[in-house]
């Protein structure tokens, strides 16, 4: 099964759809979780997910706001969607009936 950060990355990729690339994924994770997303961790996780066949990355076109540098575009594969769904199911199942708020 995938890890928490891998899941966050897959979920952000799914949400961003065609606009998913390094910086946009990092921004998405930061805005939804409130935690800082390190580019180092992001890139090594992208590599790991790609080697597992859960995502596919390609080099996009260069843009002026990036100093003419290309983006590494990220696409979710069918296996990636299945892995994310399994993780989500496992988390919701194991959490069922548990109330975290107010408990120690």
């Amino acid at each position: 099964m995938i890890g928490e950060f891998e899941y966050l990355l897959l979920a952000a990729t799914r949400r961003l759809s065609d606009d998913a690339y390094g910086a946009s994924i990092a921004n998405e994770i930061e805005s939804t979780t409130g935690r800082r997303c390190s580019l180092g961790a992001l890139y090594t996780t992208l590599d790991r997910l790609e080697s597992k066949g859960l995502i596919k990355t390609t080099m996009g076109d260069p843009t002026p706001e990036r100093g003419g540098r290309a983006k590494r575009m990220v696409k979710l594969t069918a296996a990636g969607k299945r892995a994310a769904a399994e993780f989500y199911t496992a988390i919701t199942t194991v959490t069922e009936g548990i109330a975290w708020s107010g408990s120690l």
């Binding site: 690339y21 390094g22 910086a23 990092a26 921004n27 800082r36 390190s38 580019l39 180092g40 961790a41 890139y43 090594t44 080099m59 260069p62 843009t63 706001e65 990036r66 100093g67 540098r69 290309a70 983006k71 590494r72």
Partner: protein, 237 residues
Amino acid sequence: MVWKSLELLSQLLEPTERQSVLGDIEERGPSFRDLLDLIGLVARRQFQTFTSWKMWLAAITLSLPVLAITNSSRAIADTLSYYPWPDLSQLSRPEFAWMIAESALATLALTWSTGYALATIARHRSLAVTALLALGPIAYLCMPLLQTTAPHHSSTSIRTLAFMLWAVTPGLLGMRRGWLGAPLTRRNALILAAACVPFAFLLPNSPYWSGRILSVLAFWPAYYAMGFSIKGAPSHA
């Protein structure tokens, strides 16, 4: 300052990754934390390179010509120190002329082509890692080369000078050419390979070397340069 450091550090990444990482940082606005992140990413990438068997194979393969070069430059240093160098009149001595014609030229050719092969192989990876792997054995072997007293009382300065002239400078020039991805002309590549041939005869006679097959294998970088002169070096991304 931060951006300059980021640009410099990113040179250790592969070209495509460098482009996407620097682009992402520029888009998000560079900060000191990004510099720390990049150091972490570079460290991970360097570690990954060390875990690849291909890199170790390359290092072992490169160690052959490196050993041959070290061995040869030591022999040159010993011969040079035997004469009251620099005394140009010694050039007329047959032993000295023979040494210059064969050993020194072969060493120059092999050092240049080793640097060339090393940089060409490393262009799409991290030059620093490959260079470190290849320079590791050189540094190790340099110690006795520069310090031991030979039968001819060759001094440390003569050995250092010989090593700089025959092993370091041409190697760096070859690396520069290889890094630019400029293949040699077929004629020059052939001359380079031919200049290395004396190694096959000289090295087995050396007290620090054994085996004729190893001697032939040691000058594979010259064949490599010849291969690229025919095929053409891969384009730089």
